[in-house]
């Protein structure tokens, strides 16, 4: 990534971005107001959320849902909207609904588990 606060002599010519995918270094997770939470015990790993996520913030390994990338999830809620699998009581919220549900960002404290 180009040097922070580069002078006009140091800055890349014409504002060109020379490193591909460098927005990964920008923590847009701080923009989140609502946070998606996921119930792994009921998840069918259909990966519809992964298809729809506009920020590539759903991490999949070996064809299985692994976790949210909270550094880049902006909390848009599309995953929760598209999730096709119903639950009677969500693992984290305890509420009936879908495998992915949206909760208030500040109310969630067990971040590492979701």
């Amino acid at each position: 990534m180009a040097k922070e606060n580069a002078t006009w002599r140091e800055a890349n010519i014409a504002g060109l971005v020379l490193e591909p995918g460098c927005t990964a270094e920008y923590n847009t997770g701080t923009w989140r107001v609502l946070r998606p939470v996921h119930d792994m015990s009921k998840c069918t790993h259909c990966l519809i959320c992964w298809v729809y996520c506009p920020d590539s913030a759903i991490v999949v390994e070996n064809g299985r849902w692994v976790r949210f990338d909270y550094d880049h999830c902006k909390g848009c809620g599309i995953c929760a909207n598209e999730c096709p699998v119903k639950v009677d009581a969500h693992e984290y919220t305890g509420k009936a609904g879908k495998v992915i549900q949206m909760v208030e960002e500040k109310s969630w404290e067990k971040e590492e588990k979701c």
Binding site: N5, A6, T7, W8, A11, I13, A14, G15, L16, V17, L18, P20
Partner: protein, 397 residues
């Protein structure tokens, strides 16, 4: 060894010849009078297989320059041509091409802007684009249009610059006039321009790059400063390329062409074809003992302020001829005059200056108009007074 052929060519065809020899990767263009002869002739070269160029026939000049920007960002050597309202329609993209530092070369066959509708020559089109970040070279003849087009490629692609270049010639007066043009052999032109290796290219998949990314208060300013820095380096490159062109092709080019300036007390500054008429008149006035000279400006952007001040230092009175108006500027002066005034003032110079607006919409510029300018200049030098700052040549008053 350069082998030249003397040809009878219209100025527009001279530009098309240069484009054929440059053989750019991409030309995206839309026809508009009086530039049509360039695009029409060049597209014939494409159809006849005389060039390898990908010719993109677009639906407007806005699209033409957009396609040029894309092709140049992809690393191509890219050219186009336009005039008047076509150039105006490119407005948005002119700035983008310059800001993205894409070395596009464009022929502009100067024509008045509408309205009322007019197809003939004045400089309001290219002068309107003077702050867009393009280098601007003005040509007096078809020969100069040809030579400047070839040099423009080298200037634009110079690694210190990477700036687009506009090469102007006067619509109809040079664009549609058949004159003697010495056309060099293809191989010599090819050797002079060399090959273009872009530093950054969208097609260089081993080094991915993003052009035109978001650039706010935190960096935009720095990138604009880089542009002025490149412009400030352009003058040296233009002079160097002009010299090298002279060594190879026998016609040397500089910032301006000075005629009878050595002991001149009076000076006329003008662009393009009118310089020829002015030189003819000055030659006669010199025979009558009038100490008058001519500065034909070739480079308007970057503006050669220091060089002009130096060239004018022993002159008492200077007349600047403008083929366009900067509406609402000081007394409705023309842009060339305003630049000359600024350069002289900043240098603490004390010459008297006077402006003449001429030739709008193709109004003819007769030798007697230049004679009038000379006699006004003499009076200004004698009395030290400028009766009227901005004047009009050939206007019914």
């Amino acid at each position: 060894m350069v082998v030249s052929t003397k040809m009878a060519l219209e100025g527009a065809h001279a530009s098309a010849q240069a484009m054929r020899q440059i053989n750019p990767d991409v030309v995206a263009a839309y026809p508009i009078t009086p530039q049509t002869a360039i695009v029409q002739t060049f597209s014939q070269y494409v159809a006849d297989g005389e060039v390898d160029t990908e010719f993109i026939a677009v639906e407007s000049e806005h699209a033409a320059m957009s396609a040029c920007i894309g092709a140049a960002a992809a690393g191509g050597r890219v050219m186009t041509a336009t005039a008047a309202n076509g150039l105006a329609l490119m407005w948005e993209e002119l700035y983008i091409a310059a800001s993205l530092r894409l070395p596009i070369v464009m022929s502009v066959v100067n024509r008045a802007l509408s309205a009322p509708l007019n197809i003939h020559c004045d400089h309001s089109d290219s002068m309107g684009a003077r702050d867009a970040g393009w280098i601007q070279l003005y040509s007096e003849t078809g020969q100069e249009a040809y030579d400047n087009t070839i040099q423009a490629v080298r200037i634009a692609e110079h690694p210190d610059l990477l700036l687009p270049v506009m090469v102007m010639q006067d619509g109809f007066i040079t664009g549609h006039a058949v004159e003697l043009v010495e056309v060099a052999d293809d191989a010599s032109v090819k050797e002079f321009i060399g090959t273009y290796t872009p530093k950054y290219s969208l097609l260089d998949i081993d080094h991915p790059v993003t052009f035109g990314a978001w650039d706010l208060w935190d960096y935009y300013f720095e990138h604009k400063r880089q542009q002025t820095d490149a412009m400030s380096k352009a003058m040296k490159v233009i002079v160097d390329v002009g010299k090298e062109f002279g060594q190879v092709f026998g016609r040397t080019y500089g910032i301006f062409d000075a005629y009878a300036m050595d002991d001149a007390e009076l000076a006329i500054i003008v662009l393009s074809s009118t310089a020829g008429t002015a030189r003819t008149v000055i030659r006669e006035l010199r025979k009558k003992g009038l100490k008058i000279g001519l500065l034909k400006l070739r480079v308007f952007r970057p503006f050669p302020a220091q060089e002009l001040v130096a060239a004018l230092k022993d002159v008492k009175a200077v007349a600047v001829l403008d083929r366009s108006i900067s509406f609402g500027a000081m007394e409705g002066a023309g842009p060339l005059f305003l630049e000359v005034c600024a350069a002289l003032f900043a240098a603490g110079a004390t010459q008297k200056v006077v402006n003449y607006i001429y030739g709008l919409g193709g109004r003819d510029v007769l030798p007697e108009y230049i004679e009038r300018v000379a006699s006004d200049l003499q009076e200004i030098a004698d009395t030290g007074k400028v009766k009227s700052l901005v004047n009009y040549l050939g206007l019914r008053e």
